[in-house]
């Protein structure tokens, strides 16, 4: 009896030591990201010339039955077929494996890296770069400087980390855009600027917070259940960039929003959208985020805050019900900002060299404009390479859904995101506590800012 107790205690102690060691990954270095190609650095490019067949595995989120899954599988099949035809007996074969939600993929990838049976190439969420950066190869060994320059620079918000080019953002979306029902807005006497005008003259003042509120107010008719604007959440990251500020420093080790009153001004703006009757309080009903989409379909919402992933369905409904849409960036206070969502691809460095070489070959092949176009057609993601927009597949899609092209063009307003281990957790906390502007209508903005600051500060410290 005593022996078994002692054994139990020993087991617990050993487990605790193992877990503690696992948690110690060393201090994050403070290298600030350099330029895409720092001067004087030569990059040895990875090439693959296998002398025998090579099999590699790729992990992606979602399932084989999702549009993303179907798109990736189609490309992998095509690549395997090309390889079998062009390099018989020395061909690369890619097997795609699907891992459900991004969070599940993240956890599973971490566990598999520990045990060494991870895939050589994997998709990860754009915000997860700091988690895997130390285990990946620098993609400047896969793509030339010209190739990287040719990519949509607004989609490289999360690619560089600690001086390395970690992520190929192959599955990107614009996560904070506005889709407007132009027909409904015009019928209420509101003329919206076009995305093309805004892109041409980003310094103009056609689309500011004040003008946005005025437009939304004009459209709102509460008696008929029509609202000028609908959103399920606010956008703390965006509201800071739209005022020329930022939530964090570059490495997410400090809060940057505590230095001035921009954060409070941003919260005031978002709260005023509800108090001035421009939008329905997101806390007023359950499933608000889904219901507002159905209301937009029914022309009861003038403008909706959404992601580019919803554009295909929104356009389809607009066509069926004969109304016109426009895609716009979120209005600015001083600057426009389009946030990047979705996921990207990394190559992991703990696999045999021939697998890494094969993965690099596959990634290069995926990034050909013609293949990017195929992926975007299947899934509705934005094209990483602007040249892909001229491929027949996307020309056809953009003819049918031109707003997808506009959304891709709006990524010009992307800025390089702060990157650090604390970012995901801190973003989540800030989002959660900022919602007090709607759930606690009697709480003053100062109190909310204080609460958010406390939580964010604690989360940053806990995640260093």
């Amino acid at each position: 009896m005593k022996k078994s107790k002692r054994f139990g205690v020993m087991l617990v102690v050993v487990l605790a030591i193992v877990m503690a060691l696992g948690a110690c990954t060393g201090p994050a270095d403070n290298v600030v990201d350099g330029e895409l190609y720092p001067e004087g650095t030569n990059w040895e490019m990875i090439t693959s010339k296998p002398s025998e067949p090579v099999n590699i595995t790729m992990w992606i989120p979602n399932s084989a039955t999702s549009t993303m899954g179907v798109g990736v599988q189609t490309l992998a099949d095509l690549f395997n077929q090309e390889q079998a035809t062009n390099n018989p007996g020395k061909n690369i074969t890619v097997t795609v494996e699907y891992q459900g939600k991004s969070s599940t993929l993240n956890e599973k990838l971490q566990a598999s890296i520990l045990s060494g049976n991870n895939p050589v190439i994997s998709a990860i969420g754009v915000s997860s770069v700091p988690l895997f950066a130390s285990k990946t190869i620098d993609l400047r060994r896969v793509f030339t400087y010209e190739e990287l320059q040719a990519q949509n620079q607004g989609l490289l918000q999360y690619s560089l980390y600690n001086g390395a080019f970690v992520l190929n953002p192959y599955f990107p979306s614009a996560s904070n855009i506005i889709v407007a029902n132009k027909t409904l807005m015009s019928s209420k006497g509101v003329t919206l600027p076009t995305a093309a005008d805004i892109i041409k003259q980003p310094k103009g003042d056609d689309w500011t917070w004040d003008k946005f509120i005025a437009a939304a107010k004009k459209v709102t008719d509460t008696e008929k259940g029509i609202y000028g604007f609908a959103s399920n959440s606010l956008d703390p990251i965006g509201m800071m960039y739209q005022q020329g500020g930022s939530l964090y420093n570059k490495t997410v080790t400090e809060l940057a929003f505590t230095k001035d009153d921009k954060f409070a001004k941003g919260l005031e703006f978002w709260r005023s959208l509800v108090t001035e009757n421009c939008m329905l309080n997101p806390n007023s009903r359950s499933n608000h985020g889904t219901i507002i989409v159905s209301e937009f379909y029914e022309q009861k919402v003038g403008m909706i805050y959404t992601t580019s992933s919803n554009i295909v369905n929104l356009s389809k409904q607009a066509k069926e019900n004969n109304y016109e849409l426009e895609v716009l960036p979120f209005p600015k206070k001083t600057d426009y900002f389009t946030n990047q969502g979705g996921s990207g691809i990394v190559i992991l460095n703990n696999k045999p060299q021939k697998e890494i070489d094969a993965a690099a070959e596959f990634l290069r092949w995926l990034n050909k404009p013609s293949n990017i176009a195929k992926m975007c057609k299947a899934s509705g993601y934005l094209p990483l390479h602007p040249a892909a927009m001229n491929e027949p597949e996307l020309v056809e899609i953009y003819k049918e859904t031109p707003l997808l092209k506009t959304a891709a063009e709006l990524m010009i307003f992307g800025v390089k995101s702060p990157q650090g281990k604390a970012k995901v957790a801190c973003d989540s906390e800030i989002n959660k506590y900022c919602k007090y502007i709607w759930s606690e209508p009697n709480m003053s903005i100062e109190e909310i800012v204080k609460k958010v600051t406390e939580r964010a500060q604690y989360t940053i410290e806990a995640n260093q």
Partner: protein, 304 residues
């Protein structure tokens, strides 16, 4: 002649008490009746609480997209869209994944009793070194949520080469704590005299367990079989984590694709149609074996 006296003569205290008593009986009867009605309403309410989500899900699965996105609590549909089921079936490739779901459930159900019953028998009837410790460790495993143990369990399984194999997939179910606990409780309820008399007749542990004790816990067996089938048929997280290739993935993992997981608004009508397809075997099982399930669930007492 005084009428009061005359009346008094016929209303002695006993009769008054009896009248009071009869009144009380009448009130009591009415109270019991009201309580019965209330009980029925309460039971009906509880029943509806369980049935409503299924009815609502069925109704959602037949709505057009715009209507489904409203999340209207009403379950009546004017123009059912049966195409949602065809779309869900094709999109989730149900005909491929349903086979894997059947194999997975059949393997677990077929093999788990080889380990669960002997383990339960040992814990219930035998004394051995480290019994409490083993029990404690096993119980601790049951308390921890799957998400919390994902990384160490995946690490361990991958080191053993069990990831993405049928073996790795069914292994934990073969040592299910829930099953051991359930059978151990049932074995402990059996009269000790039966076991002792079998031992006096020199019956081996195997004979006592298989020929005497297991037949006596048949209702428990059926209950466990049903709950085990339901939980394995619906298993999502474990299958997702422990498999990589589509040749082993089951229906719940495939249906997740209908939600498009991370971004965009899902087509809830199609997702619900997929879920209804997944639930169909369980619902059919309940419809056709309703009585037996109730007996095994409610009247799951061991035969004495």
């Amino acid at each position: 002649m005084r009428i009061e006296n005359y009346t008094d003569a016929y209303s002695p205290k006993e009769i008054k008490d009896k009248e009071k008593f009869l009144l009380w009986v009448k009130v009591k009867k009415r109270l019991v009746y009201i309580l019965k009605v209330l009980n029925c309403i309460f039971a009906l309410g509880i029943g509806l609480m369980f049935v409503y989500p299924f009815a609502w899900m069925a109704s959602m699965s037949l709505r057009p997209l715009t209507e489904a996105l409203k999340f209207n609590p009403n379950i009546i549909i004017k123009n059912p869209v049966w195409d949602n089921y065809i779309f869900a079936w094709n999109q989730a490739r149900v005909s491929h994944y349903i086979g894997n779901s059947l194999i997975y459930s059949a393997l677990v159900i077929g093999l788990q009793y080889l380990t669960i019953i002997p383990a339960a028998y040992a814990f219930a009837t035998m004394e051995f070194k480290g019994k409490k410790f083993l029990w404690g460790v096993k119980f601790l495993g049951m308390m921890l949520p799957a998400e919390a143990t994902l990384i160490p369990v995946y690490f361990f399984y991958s080191k053993l080469g069990l990831v993405d194999t049928w073996g790795g997939l069914i292994l934990p179910s073969l040592f299910s704590m829930f099953g051991i606990y359930m059978f151990m409780g049932a074995f402990k309820q059996l009269p000790k005299e039966v076991i002792e008399s079998a031992k006096m007749d020199k019956a081996s542990n195997r004979v006592i367990m298989l020929k005497i004790m297991v037949p006596m816990v048949t209702p428990i067996f059926i209950t466990h079989l049903i709950t085990s089938f339901i939980s394995n048929w619906n298993e999502y997280y474990w299958v997702l984590v422990m498999t990589n290739s589509e040749s082993l993935r089951t229906l719940p993992v495939a249906l997740r694709g209908l939600l498009q997981v991370d971004e965009g608004v899902p087509q809830w009508n199609v997702a619900m149609a997929g879920t209804m397809i997944q639930l169909a075997p369980i619902l059919l099982m309940y419809i056709f074996a309703n009585g037996k399930i109730k007996t095994s669930m409610v009247g799951n007492k061991v035969k004495k």
